[in-house]
Amino acid sequence: MVQGEFVMTIEEIYKKLRKSFGGTILESDLEVLEPVVGIEPQSIAEVSGFLKNEPDLKFTSLMCLSSVDLDEENLQVVYHLHSMDHNHKIILGVIIPKNAAKIPTVSGVWRTANWHEREAFDLMGVEFEGHPDHRRILCPDDWEGHPLRKDYVVQEMYNGLPVPYPKEEDD
Amino acid sequence: MALLYLAIVIWLLPLFAFVVQIFFGNRLPRKGDWLVVGAMFIDLILALIIFANILIQYDPGYRVTLHFDWIVLGTQNFPLGFALDNVTAVMLVVVTAVSALVFLYSIGYMKGDPRYSRYFAYLSFFAFSMLGLILFDNLLGIYMCWELVGLSSYLLIGFWFEKDSASNAGKKAFITNRVGDFGMFVGMLIVFYVTGTFSLDGIEASVVSGNFSGSILTAAGILLFVGAVGKSAQFPLHVWLPDAMEGPTPVSALIHAATMVVAGVYLVVRIFFMLTPDSMLVIAYIGGFTALFAATIALVQNDIKRVLAYSTISQIGYMILALGTGAYAAGLFHLMTHAFFKALLFLGSGSVIHAVEHAFRSGKIDADPQDMNNMGGLRRKMPVTFWTFIIATVAISGVPFTSGFLSKDAILAGTLSFAGTHPQHFLLPFFGFLAAGLTAFYMFRLVFKTFFGEFSISKAWGYVHESALTMTIPLVVLSILCFFVFYSYSPVSPDEGWFYHLIEKPEQAAVANAGSAMLTTGGEEGEHDSSHSYALIMSLIIAFTGIIISYKTYYSGKISAVEWGNMYPRLYRCMFNKWYVDEFYSATIIRFTLGWSAFCGWFDDNIIDRVVNRTARVTVVISWFNGKFDNIIVDGLVNGIANTTQLLGWFTRQVQTGKIQQYLVGLLIALVLIIILRTM
């Protein structure tokens, strides 16, 4: 791995993205510890493809794909990208509303996204459009709800059995 | 008889090794080299056993044979046979000894080659072929093995076939040999036509009885000799041998110096009884001319292996010359001694090349490791190679106390006495002596340029080192064999040794029948007279002259080689370019062949194709009419029949259900009923 030759700072990458995609790249605060570059939900797949294939970016590796319950209305999907060739990083963030949590899949760009997106769907309820195998991954197929949401309530019965969850005594 | 069986075992062992090696070689540990080398050393031990037995018997007329039918075609029988006599035994020892040492040497030399096991398989195959050539007492068998050694030689020359030069050299050797073999084959056919047999005994019988004589015998002898010319690289078919040096150096040592190329000499020895005076003269002149001719070329070559190659041609010329002048034992003797010291020279040169090449590679220098101009001073880094090389050089130059002196002196004496009897052939000793002087000169030139002086490329000097033990051991063993004691008690006279006792000149029935006294003297008889001492003194003088001139030129620098070259520029250029023989061939024979094939191609394209196309056109027209007839008349009939059959078939199909079980049940019930009905 050749390092350091083409390392680009996050500002440079951000500028390059703005140049290529314009408005779909949202205004982002690049001053914090690990800045997140905001992306419009519909264009995430395109941007990802660009980031992976552009010769001086080459984000070949999707380190992590996280889903975040931001607040009452919104969810966020965060992509940690890393370039094995150039050893630079970028973090993309896509904010989507909770009631219509749909976002194009990036599993066509990085195949590792396949399982990560399934996990995000399973635990956070983000639907990935165009995903080849859109099923729950960790919870059983007939589980109700998405546990990592802040407003998640455990179902009382599962397959006719009470879920062993000690009810807190309110009074 | 037991010895003969042993000899056959010797013959078959390499074949076994070859078969195992070619199929399983890569899977064996160490890629199977131990198998081949081991087989060869067993061969050597067995050959030495045979040889010891021969020595103990000490019988010049010793000969056992074994015959069996090979092919029976109607009344015509083609037997094959093996014979073991003293010549064979000596040859067995020579071939197995040189082979075993060269095989051992190859382990070091070929280390790391990608086709290592294949190489040893080929070597083994060669040993098998060569031993067969020695053992057969039958022209047919000899011819078979003759071709097999040609094949293995071809395979080994072109062993590094990635190099164009190597593969071309292989082809060249093969094709040139074919020319000679064609002559040999015609000779064999003549022999067979006249005598009805290929067996040497049978031929001898008919020569002795006089049925096979005269000009046809001469022709047969010369034609057979043409084969020897090809294989032994005599003028004018010598062109392949220098090119054959493209093969691995051990191969050059084994095949193109010590064993295979002397097969021609061996063939002449085998057919010696049927040589008429005329054919012997032809042989003598070709041999003598080649000896001188090749020596002149060797004077000016710079490639170390090419010098040795031309030296080989020259030395074989010597042997042929000896046989042609009737010095039968001397020729054979030189064959044996030459095998050892020439193998040693080649292996030594291989060791040198190996070291130099390694040095160049390590020093990242792009230079020809075989060019003597790039060497020098190696004696300090490679003492074993140097000393053994010196011994061999001394031997080939004919310095006393060496084997080379014994054999070369015998040949020169033979030619001298021959010339004494027939003064009109004074050229033959002249050729011999001149070549001897030149030999001493160019061999010492080689030594001086290689081992003395300073290494030309000092950058690589640090990388030069002595070769591995597997390479130096054969050198030492062979160098020991260069001393006279193994061959004769006397350092000056070979006829006191076992060799001259065991190898006797056969009855030359053909000469006797020719009724000519012309060649009855000369050869062996001559050695006992005064010509022997003349020859001894003269050859000594000439050899030392050559050595001294060489020393002056290349060591002390008193004489400038460049000046010599400038003094006779045309001669130098001729010698340097090998007398333009190759160029002559390509201008005549090859050009003609290419032209003829171009003509044939044109003929095919323009005449034959045109005729064929016309024919096709006509066929198309005819078939159109045929088709119409077929469609309307024949098909109509056929379809009618088919429709009827289909209708009938439709009816029948309703009966059959397609279930074999039901048919079987029906069959059984019918069977039961029939039996009941019949028996009631």
Binding site: M1, C64, S66, V68, N114 | -
Partner: protein, 392 residues
Amino acid sequence: MPEIKTDDVYIELGKHPKAGFATDDMILQMGPQHPSTHGVLRIECVTDGEIIKKATCHIGYLHRCFEKHAENVMWQGVIPFTDRMDYLASMGQNFSYVITVEKLMGIEVPERAEYMRVITAELQRIASHLMAYGTYGMDIGAFTPFLWAFREREYVLDLFEKLCGARLLYNYMWIGGVSHDVYDGFAEECMSFLDTFERVVFEEFNPILTYNKIFIERTANVGILSPELAIDYGITGPCLRGSGVDWDLRRDDPYSIYDRFDFEVITGKGEMGTVGDCWDRFMVRVLEMIESVKIIRQALQQMPEGPIMNEKIKKVIRVPAGRVYGRTEAPRGELGYYLISDGKGRGPNRLKARSPCFSNLSVLEEISRGCMLADLIAIIGSLDIVLGCVDR
């Protein structure tokens, strides 16, 4: 390995194959209780006789919703949960988490604690790779290496037990330092273990398994994972290096004090077959143990005296608001934590764990296609997954 055309692989169940001798496809449920799935993994194999046409992984049998737990406990309370993720390499899991929190807090860790962290993490790597070595031998059918590896692993666990009282789930690394200082004689015991261990690897482990002809036949050229595929699937750790990718976070993205040590990054070279086959992945682990030995030796020699905890750390930790992604090279690959703090809560607002085994396992379906049943076992073993890490 028999060649299977890609067309044949995606045959609908029950549909008749186009080529070959017609047998019905068999659906084989391997696991969740199976000796060599290394835990409760279920693989649904569509097989044609012994040949796997498709192997689909079903995971989640060990799912504990670690991330949900983390949202409900204090900052320090997460550490024991991380222990239980990759229970064979708990130190590495602790390490990654505390580094992430410290990064967000922006605090320094005392030198001595850094050295202790590196030493224990590398010892843990040895223990974990020993486990991988042993179980892989058992997958291939050799039982003895397993026990030999366990014998060595015992020494490591003994060291840990003496150090922090626990043998498996240590809770050793705390935010701002480590929980226990070394006891007297730790360095000597450690050194003596390292000396014997190096010899044992070369004189015992390699002859009985690594260079065993049958073992090589079974693992070389099996389950070939090309570098491109590996990166595409987010494979990390020894599996990635087994594919010949020269990538190690300890060297390429140094954290803690790893930039002070001299060690090599082992990559697969295709010594016995193709680069990226099972043997390469296996061999990378074996050699990495030796590299870990080197690191520990250096660390033991350099270790300074001093405190083991940052004094500024209070019982109740306040972490400023922010987001941070911290990653380390755990024994099984890149272990990353994406940590979000809102600056108010007692614990993380969101903690996403990016576990190496999760990504590593996802490639199984791709590389096991067309191999034989026995090869599937070999491939799973060579990926060296821990289901606690996959399912979290």
